[in-house]
């Protein structure tokens, strides 16, 4: 008789808050282990996975497009005065492309997705939890972890890197329009300068980062939703905690991965 919700021990070992934190870490660790166990076992929920890719990827495009475009323009405008002091505005395309691909596109995409996708997953699964829909799935001999968690985590892990590439292109487009308007640089010239400094390692590190961010957003959203407490308040808390925790983890992962990449570089 397996229960999905291991209960917090009633007797405190250290203090209520610390015990709760340690319990959450342990419970999260078990949740991740279960994901890696179930992801390779049939049956595979292909239709639900494709549906989630559509929801997470395609439906995020308008917000990602707007954010990426504005990021490109703003970063170009903010960088121009510093470079023009040295008469180096011709370096703008290279500077922008490196900044966008190495840092801005992965972070902007991940933070937008944490807010939009993470909260959506947390609220949806939390709502299913408190209205007993997850229990209903389980008693109808369907594995809710496989149907709800595995599909969503795989979809975020796959779609966030793709969205990052799209964000990078849109940000570069915004940057090009600003540079073209101010420096009259042609598209061909902008492209040559923008991509001449980009290395395979830049692309690889950004894809690696966004794979990790995507997994984080998916697993945190699902974990918080799956463990929502009873009532509508629990749903709100699950959605909120999904966003806050995944954003925090994204920044921690950013620091760690950047250190590793710099070491390799």
């Amino acid at each position: 008789m397996a229960s999905n919700n291991p209960s917090v021990p009633e007797k405190f070992i250290i203090s209520k808050a610390l015990d709760r934190t340690f319990f959450d870490v342990y419970s999260g660790y078990r949740f991740i282990l279960r994901f890696f166990k179930e992801v390779f076992l049939p049956p595979f929920e292909g239709k639900e996975f494709i549906k989630q890719c559509y929801e997470i990827g395609y439906r995020s495009l308008p917000l990602i497009s707007l954010t990426g475009f504005i990021t490109g323009i703003v970063f170009t405008k903010q960088s121009r005065p510093s470079l023009s002091e040295f008469g180096a505005t011709s370096w703008l395309p290279s500077l922008i492309s490196i900044a966008v691909l190495r840092a801005l596109a992965p972070l902007v995409t991940a933070l937008i997705a944490a807010g939009k996708v993470g909260s959506n997953i947390g609220a949806e699964l939390g709502s299913m939890k408190v209205t007993e829909q997850i229990d209903a799935m389980e008693v109808s001999a369907t594995n809710p972890f496989k149907f709800l968690v595995v599909t969503r985590v795989l979809a975020t892990t796959l779609m966030i890197p793709i969205l990052m590439l799209y964000t990078a292109l849109v940000a570069l487009l915004g940057s090009f329009l600003d540079i073209h308007a101010n420096e009259l640089t042609s598209f061909v010239s902008f492209s040559e300068k923008a991509f001449e400094r980009i290395t395979f390692l830049d692309l690889f590190s950004s894809l690696l980062k966004t794979l990790v961010y995507g997994f984080t957003i998916g697993i945190v959203g699902c974990y918080k939703g799956f463990h929502a407490s009873q009532g509508t308040e629990g749903v709100g808390k699950a959605a909120n905690a999904a966003v806050v925790l995944s954003m925090f983890l994204i920044f921690v992962e950013e620091i760690v991965i950047v250190q590793i990449i710099n070491f390799i570089r």
């Binding site: 009633e10 007993e132 229990d135």
Partner: protein, 259 residues
Amino acid sequence: MERRKDISSVDATNKVISIRGLEKSFGTLAVLRGIDLDVYRGENVVVLGRSGTGKSVLIKIISGLLKADSGTVNVLGNEVDTLSGKELQALRLKIGFSFQNGALYDSMTVRGNLEFPLKRNVRNLSRKQIDSAVEEVLEGVGLAHAVDQMPSGLSGGQRKRIGIARTLILRPEVMLYDEPTAGLDPITSIEINNLINEVQQQYHTSSIIITHDLTCAKTTGNRVAMMLNGTFLHQGTFEEVFSSDDPAVKAFYEYNFIQ
């Protein structure tokens, strides 16, 4: 309208559920304190009791959603506590669980809700066979017209009916009803009570019905078990239980104004 139960369909030699010494606590709160219960094939057993006395916990343990602290639960010859994940899934195909609020998947239409367990548990079904199964169970609960509606557009009674239809599509041998008439008006409650009886007759199910509604208990139960403080205070037919002079039973009876 209300119908009294006959016991001709009950096979008193064939236990489908057998529970012994079942205990369950949440933290320091002991909810179940040594429950013993047998349910025979074709029998409807009503578990009556006040809110918060652990009635729903009992059926969640029977279906494997919760783990008991001690005691044994045998369902259709399987010790639920000792089953592997796959064995538990196989057993669950024979158990239908009707949730208090229907627990319909609100991102799917009624058709999607009904097809969901069928597609995942019965392989190689043609589109025609799936449609036919959906149509049959929907007609059985009198909601064939609601097939393409979303759950949000259904009334409380309709949601419960669809919830029951979703379990019936897998042809369960055992039905577990969690507060089937809670929150419903008297007329809809009677319809649900009649539906529970029809399910028993048509699908030859054995059921545990969790309720605090005495009309539901009287109408649907072959036998009633009255729960108080985590144990069964009285078991027997409705008349036997409520002929008791126990103040706790009398208070329950008088509150419901049953004559």
